[in-house]
Point group: C2
Chain length 317, copies 2
Amino acid sequence: MNVGVLGAGAVGGSVVELAEEYGHTVTVFADSQSAVVDPDGIDAAAALSAKRTDGRVGSADPEAALDAEYDVLVEATPTTLGDAEPGFSHVRTALERDRHVVLANKGPIAERYGDIRRLEAESAGTVRFEATVGGALPVISTIEGFGPSRVGSLHGVLNGTANFILSRMSAEGLDYEHVLVEAQDLGVAETDPTFDVDGTDTALKGVIVANLLFEGEYSLEDASIEGIQALSGNMLELAREDGQTVRLIAEVRNGNIRVSPRLVPRESPVAPSGTHNAVQLTVEDAGQVTLSGRGAGGAETATAVLADVGRLGENRR
Amino acid sequence: MNVGVLGAGAVGGSVVELAEEYGHTVTVFADSQSAVVDPDGIDAAAALSAKRTDGRVGSADPEAALDAEYDVLVEATPTTLGDAEPGFSHVRTALERDRHVVLANKGPIAERYGDIRRLEAESAGTVRFEATVGGALPVISTIEGFGPSRVGSLHGVLNGTANFILSRMSAEGLDYEHVLVEAQDLGVAETDPTFDVDGTDTALKGVIVANLLFEGEYSLEDASIEGIQALSGNMLELAREDGQTVRLIAEVRNGNIRVSPRLVPRESPVAPSGTHNAVQLTVEDAGQVTLSGRGAGGAETATAVLADVGRLGENRR
């Protein structure tokens, strides 16, 4: 498949780096300032090197990227809330051109799911979004396999940064502020970790799952959200003495989306350690299915993007 | 999709029972003695009731079933070794008629993978086999999503009966023979549990995964197999005192298939309890991905069959 990649952050860059190994050709690569376009396939190494050294992937106009040749548009620009722009417009343009879309950007699927599905219905293109939930974990395609209407609920850990902080607080009895600084030093938490620790990122993923399970038009404002900033090391120690721990749990059930710190048994399948994610689906006739592994990271998330691109390729046969 | 179901055991029966909920129509249902055929959809409840009361699903000749109308043949007759007959011939007939095939029967995929792939290459039909490994767990489609060549290894528990016996031996310090009788009373172990406890069933699943990962023509004789019959309750207690337990582990790596009882930490993701299965895939750029849940059961395995039927339907669009 010919792939156009918008966004040159960790995920977009990894998609460009790995696409050839997955048998695909990157014909377009753009960030907000620049682009490189070649219908025969761009020079991925040169573009990634240019991004690192000059801050630009190439010399073409990013506006031209959307109208260039590709079978699948990979939307990997930063997640934005509310109108989810400019990601939403990128998706619309690609669908109006009858191209497929694979999202790593959570905004359009979390905030404007109904609009996206209506555009998809009028397009020959298909929208996929495995990478928006659970990094490398195949949460979306597993739900699709069982049939969304047969998956009653999801609960689990969907943010690696918050999980790392809670794991460290629990293991060492340290306070939130202390561990946050450590996480930032290690590169596990961003300079501004707000969305990871206040539950917003987890809630966006919960909203996406709710949209899929309940065919709704949920958005962030439909979620009940509590973060981990107010937790003390003491509380984690008390939990530990009782064989329990605290995790930032997303729960999607009966049309509700709830994100909050919860006590869970330390050996629970949804109490992963470090930056891992873990989710449990309750499936009619199949019981509880648990998926766990790396829920973030550029290369990890890129594998989910490229799995989606592969699935679109199969459907074309 | 119109579905033909061969085999009226727990899996075949559940497929017939659940197909309509998944949006499919069963046009053929046969066991080794009888069949019921209706191009407009059989009466599932009547056929299942007839099977229970008379031992026959209907009054038609089972020979006629293969030549009747269906888009997908579900092969759910008992697994046989060696030439994998009569399952293999059923698959061949359907592929020669350009129909899709979904297998729950492990024999043809474990023992004659190369033959199946060659028949598929000459057919307009596609072969899928999610249900042959890990019951309700989406092991095969997860491997396909990442790309089989990018999955370096699989290890974990793939037989619920053996896992139940080991869990009970470990929890109670009881010997194998004692727990086996209990498992048979509970219906967890069959009257003849040989293939479950001697590692054959686990090895067949390992062979299927090896065929997918290494594009090989592996069969059961390529696997190194050791069962759990010789384990004593004492050994399990010793392990337990050290924070460990014993599980019957399948390991598929570097072209090798090995099944043997192994010491694993009690909190390991591949030490599920009871009849659950759990597998860990090592994936390039994505790290370790763990799947766990119900690995057996008629309804559970039927959900995997019907997920495959659904995937074939998508490809037809």
